[in-house]
């Protein structure tokens, strides 16, 4: 069913924690997180063409939901993270319901401001969230289980992408992307499909947000709603190939590794590079690296 090379890779990743250093494990766990984030962004923006500039809001929502449950109610982190996914889902419903009725540019504007509002909400409900002081989780060293959890989420979201892209549902989403007016004329209830995609795209970030909160043991508004994370998500997907299954994974792996090994030392150059990559991809490689490879090597459409 799955290609053997892929199975070998999965096994290698599964046994890595036995060999790896604390740093290596944390690196891989964050890589899984980015794969999950990029893939989730792909579900809404890559497939439907609705650019979600505020997607990191779901990550932050998941982080705070899980954090509050762990600190105030003593929930175990795994359940708290799943609850984080649910929290993100609720947020997506609340935001998506009004905003997805609008056409693309207006949706983008609405999402742009979302982060700020959430930051304000966090500060407002200080008693619950610790406001600007942040939330400290009780000490727990669980890098290895979290590594597996993140890995599973990354796998799950990628599998979800596979299922969607190869289904009628996915086809409908892509129709919306190509020409929304025509899609509606064909009788597709665009609002409903957009909403489903949006909801699905929020769960992944919600769960990994919760896991990341547990891993870092401390969250404050600035660290969970930063613009740079949205930018990074977007660049990863664009670079790898939006609307594909493996594009986001490829983009995440390449960019995160490069970032960690080289660019992180030159922060402004690094961000500048991201901006330049976005421009270059949009103008020259709209289908990302995978798109280029697809043309060159005649790869299957759904990849």
């Amino acid at each position: 069913m799955l290609p053997p090379a892929f199975c070998v890779l999965l096994i290698a990743l599964a046994v890595y924690p036995l060999e790896g250093t604390g740093y290596g494990i944390r690196f891989m766990l964050q890589l899984f997180m980015w794969i999950a984030l990029a893939q989730s962004w792909n579900l809404i923006s890559g497939l439907t063409g609705y650019v979600s500039f505020g997607h990191i809001a779901f990550f932050g929502m998941g982080a705070y939901t899980a954090g509050i449950l762990i600190v105030k109610l003593g929930w175990p982190w795994l359940w708290a993270s799943l609850a984080g996914g649910v929290g993100a889902l609720v947020l997506a419903l609340v935001i998506g319901w009004p905003c997805l009725r609008l056409k693309g540019p207006y949706f983008a504007i609405a999402m742009l401001g979302l982060n700020e509002v959430l930051r304000v909400a966090v500060s407002y409900f200080e008693g619950l969230t610790g406001g600007g002081s942040g939330l400290s989780l009780p000490a727990l060293y669980a890098s290895v289980p979290i590594y597996y959890a993140m890995g599973l989420v990354a796998l799950a979201v990628t599998a979800l992408a596979y299922v969607i892209v190869t289904s009628r549902f996915g086809l409908r989403l892509m129709t919306i992307r190509e020409d929304e007016v025509a899609a509606e004329a064909m009788g597709i209830d665009t609002f409903r499909y957009k909403l489903y995609a949006f909801l699905l795209s929020a769960v992944g970030p919600g769960i990994v947000g919760g896991l990341a909160a547990r891993d870092q043991s401390y969250i404050e508004p600035i660290s969970v709603f930063p613009l740079i994370m949205t930018i990074t998500m977007i660049v990863m997907v664009l670079f790898g190939g939006k609307g594909t299954i493996w594009g986001p994974v490829l983009g995440a792996v390449l960019l995160f590794t490069l970032q960690e090994m080289i660019w992180a030392r030159f922060i402004y150059v690094h961000q500048l590079l991201f901006g330049a990559i976005i421009v270059a991809v949009v103008l020259l490689m709209p289908r990302g690296i995978l798109g280029v490879l697809q043309q060159k090597y005649n790869l299957p459409r759904t990849i």
Binding site: G49, A110, G113, V120, I231
Partner: protein
């Protein structure tokens, strides 16, 4: 207190209106949401700062420098980048201008460093009874009014202005009438950038200048366009004033924290209830 705040709001609103008009022009003519509008404003502010620093040029005089300079920048951006995606799905132009905005902000970080700069030219205020009006804000408002009026006269009276309005209404028809649409696109983007630069120059005297300063204006400009109605140029004016007022008044009755959320909730409400804008009758 309320009186002071209302006047502060209107003063700020005039500035928002001018900057938003720039964004609105670009959107109206090309249907491109220029996410890099804020960074263009920032570049205008830095232009003013550097000319003040090196040549001692009066910041208000530097309008003569910053506006043409950013007009050119806008033209270049349009010609080499944006023009390629004008017909593509909106996703592309959004992402493109998003990428440009990141690039501009980080170029500024590298070139100018993140150190705060300021143009210490005009501090202090006019005292009128119990009201105190910051001198720089009042003058900024006056200039904004002059520039915006100038822009409107341009759009209404000159041939170029009419051509721009024609393309905003219908590109195909304008083309048939002999308008060089490509040229109009470049000019519109240039003017939009120049208006952003003017905003930057005026603001440079009031706030600390740093590479990220423009981001908040991008969102506010979007908000004004939504309030006034996309493509509705006079609407942008009223939208700007309205935003300025709402911001200041809500800060007074609520706390500064909640301020940003108010603007946002307003945005979502307007988008839901009257997506064509509060002040426009015709859909664009």
């Amino acid at each position: 207190m309320l009186g002071q705040v209302v006047i502060s709001g209107l003063l700020a609103g005039a500035l928002y209106a001018m900057v938003a008009l720039g964004l609105g022009l670009i959107f109206g003519v090309m249907r491109v949401l220029n996410v890099s509008h804020g960074p263009l404003l920032m570049l205008g502010a830095y232009t003013t700062f550097w000319f003040f620093q090196w040549l001692g040029l009066n910041p208000y005089l530097s309008l003569v420098v910053s506006m043409p300079l950013l007009f050119l920048v806008g033209v270049v951006l349009q010609r080499f980048f944006v023009s390629r995606v004008v017909d593509a799905p909106e996703l592309s132009s959004l992402l493109l201008t998003f990428g440009i905005s990141i690039a501009l902000v980080n170029l500024a970080q590298l070139a100018f460093t993140a150190d705060l700069r300021s143009v210490e030219y005009l501090t202090g205020s006019f005292l009128l009874g119990p009201f105190a009006f910051s001198k720089s804000r009042v003058i900024a408002c006056l200039f904004a009014i002059v520039i915006t009026t100038g822009a409107f006269l341009f759009l209404k009276m000159t041939r170029l202005g009419k051509a721009i309005r024609a393309v905003s209404q219908s590109r195909e028809v304008a083309q048939v009438c002999g308008v060089d649409v490509g040229r109009i696109h470049m000019i519109a983007f240039g003017i939009g950038s120049a208006l952003a630069a003017a905003g930057g120059t005026l603001v440079a005297v009031m706030v600390a200048i740093q590479p990220e300063m423009g981001q908040v204006y991008t969102f506010k400009s979007f908000l004004v366009i939504v309030l006034g109605g996309a493509g509705n140029y006079p609407g942008a004016l009223l939208g700007g004033l309205l935003l300025g007022l709402i911001e200041q008044v809500s800060s007074l009755f609520l706390t500064t924290q909640v301020n940003e959320a108010v603007a946002y909730v307003l945005l979502v409400l307007v988008l839901l209830v009257r997506p064509t804008g509060l002040l426009t009758g015709r859909a664009q």
